[in-house]
């Protein structure tokens, strides 16, 4: 109980107060805290669109021999986008800062979901798929930094290879998969591009799993918030413009780089803890994230799932349509019934919220904790007591 109090106090200052203030100024309709899950989804569209524009001009090679006079490779194509294509630099910067915004939005989503206690029991699938999504976004973001093929990309590539090599048994194959061969070649960059784009589209699949147990997920913030979000990204574009970098030279060994703290912090871990330490900390972090929804940490009692009163159910489907967790399935009614369908509750998905009770005009579904009849009795008692 004591611990719970502390959590709620932090929650109070971190979320409830700002929430109250925002509600006062712009009403709940435009409160970004009520769209924390939809924000990353919108940022994903920004990333897809800006990424598509960059993809049109990007050449994923280290060295292209067909254009012997001018070196055409990943770096020079990025340079061409930045300096020659109209708004190339702006689109590049937007793509980069939308990526950072994605990480911020996901973290906000995660922290808020944790503080509001909306991640466990009947929601564990959402939490775990969310961890997978975060992992995917991190890796996609990092491959984005390899694609530029400047000195930082080369350093990151070599650091990643060293981390992979340290993995026992599968280290060597991992390295070959990552480099698409034994050494850095043209194929390496096509692999990066494939991972960057292929994994981005796989996000849609992971999002499907993220949403599959939710009816009508909120995935679009109101347009006004979208404008504000794009405006924020554009301000970042002006404040932190794209700067010139040096092309990667395979014969040199760059040692320093600027760190994008949203995506490249694992490389900071890698350089300070070594490859062994890196895998240790990453595993610990992932394990903690995955174990957070384990019920034993919270000592909460199991959800009392809603129960259908079989002889009252008319099979009207209203409860199954309104259930926010897809926990009610309509099955064919048993033989001899006057109706065609019968509602059945999938107890493992049920949150015990009672929306189905509110949806039923026939008193045919009940929460074991608080049945309809008891509610009406209580209302009567309250009215009679003087």
């Amino acid at each position: 109980m004591q611990e719970k109090m502390e959590k709620s106090n932090i929650f109070h200052t971190l979320f409830l107060e700002p929430e109250k203030l925002i509600n006062k100024v712009v009403t709940s309709k435009y409160n970004p805290l009520y769209y924390h899950g939809a924000l990353p989804q919108f940022i994903m569209y920004v990333l897809f669109l800006s990424g598509l524009l960059l993809f049109a001009y990007y050449v994923p090679t280290v060295d292209n021999a067909y254009f012997s006079k001018n070196l055409i490779n990943a770096f020079t194509s990025v340079d061409y986008i930045t300096n020659t294509i109209p708004f190339g630099a702006v689109v590049r910067a937007m793509h980069r800062y939308a990526g950072d915004a994605m990480v911020i939005a996901i973290l906000l989503h995660m922290v808020r979901v944790w503080f509001t206690d909306r991640f466990r029991q009947y929601r564990w699938v959402q939490w775990l798929s969310g961890v997978v999504l975060l992992l995917m976004v991190m890796f996609i973001g990092q491959t984005g930094y390899y694609l530029i093929w400047d000195e930082r990309s080369l350093l990151l590539t070599r650091m990643t290879v060293s981390a992979f090599e340290a993995v026992p048994v599968i280290g060597e194959p991992l390295k070959h998969w990552f480099l698409n061969g034994r050494n850095i070649t043209n194929l390496t960059l096509s692999n990066y591009l494939f991972i960057h784009i292929g994994l981005s589209f796989s996000l849609l699949f992971a999002l499907w799993i993220h949403y599959v147990r939710m009816t009508r997920p909120v995935i679009t913030p109101p347009p006004a918030l979208n404008y504000l979000l794009v405006a924020l990204i554009l301000v970042a574009v002006y404040l932190f413009p794209i700067t010139e970098t040096k092309m990667a030279d395979l014969n040199l060994q760059p040692t320093n780089m600027e760190i994008d703290w949203f995506f490249l912090w694992p490389y900071w871990v890698l350089s300070s803890a070594g490859a062994g330490g890196y895998w240790f900390w990453i595993t610990v972090l992932l394990a903690v994230l995955c174990l957070i929804p384990l019920p034993m940490f919270y000592g909460s009692k199991a959800v009392e799932a809603a129960e259908v009163v079989t002889n009252k159910c008319t099979g009207c489907r209203l409860c199954s349509l309104d259930c926010p967790y897809q926990a009610i399935e309509m099955v064919p009614a048993p033989a001899g019934s006057r109706f065609k369908l019968l509602a059945t509750v999938k107890a493992y998905r049920c949150s015990g919220c009672g929306v189905c009770v509110g949806a039923c005009a026939f008193d045919a579904i009940d929460l074991p904790d608080l049945p309809d009849a008891q509610v009406n009795l209580k209302i009567k008692e309250l009215l009679e007591a003087k």
């Binding site: 712009v26 435009y30 405006a231 700067t243």
Partner: protein, 115 residues
């Protein structure tokens, strides 16, 4: 709509137009000549006021250029300023929408009477 809200919306909308007009100016590397005026504006016979507006923005030109050069910005500097102008225009548009949209009472629902 309350009069304060109406005034706010007008201010935000005018601000939005002001910054939107800065976008074509910034796109042409912050030059204020007849050539940079968009064709639609010419069709509306608004070339002269637009150029006057451009001259207003031009006062900011050196400041922006200096700032971006200090940060070693790569590419066309005007396009970064375009991004900034677009950000300002979008923010003001969002604020105007919010002022209009937040007028509805959302914390209380009074049921319409049925007869």
């Amino acid at each position: 709509m309350g009069s304060i809200r109406a005034v706010l919306v007008v201010i935000f909308a005018l601000g939005c137009v002001y910054f939107t007009m800065a976008m074509p100016w910034a796109e042409h590397n912050m030059t204020a000549t007849k050539e940079t005026v968009p064709h639609t504006i010419k069709l509306l016979y608004l070339t002269d006021p637009t150029i006057k507006l451009f001259d207003l923005y031009a006062a900011q030109k050196e400041k922006h250029e200096q700032e971006l050069k200090n940060k070693n910005a790569e590419g066309n500097l005007g396009e970064y300023v375009y991004a900034l102008a677009m950000a300002a225009a979008m923010t003001l548009a969002a604020l105007a929408i919010m002022v209009v949209g937040s007028e509805d009472e959302v914390e209380k629902t009074v049921l319409p009477s049925k007869n």
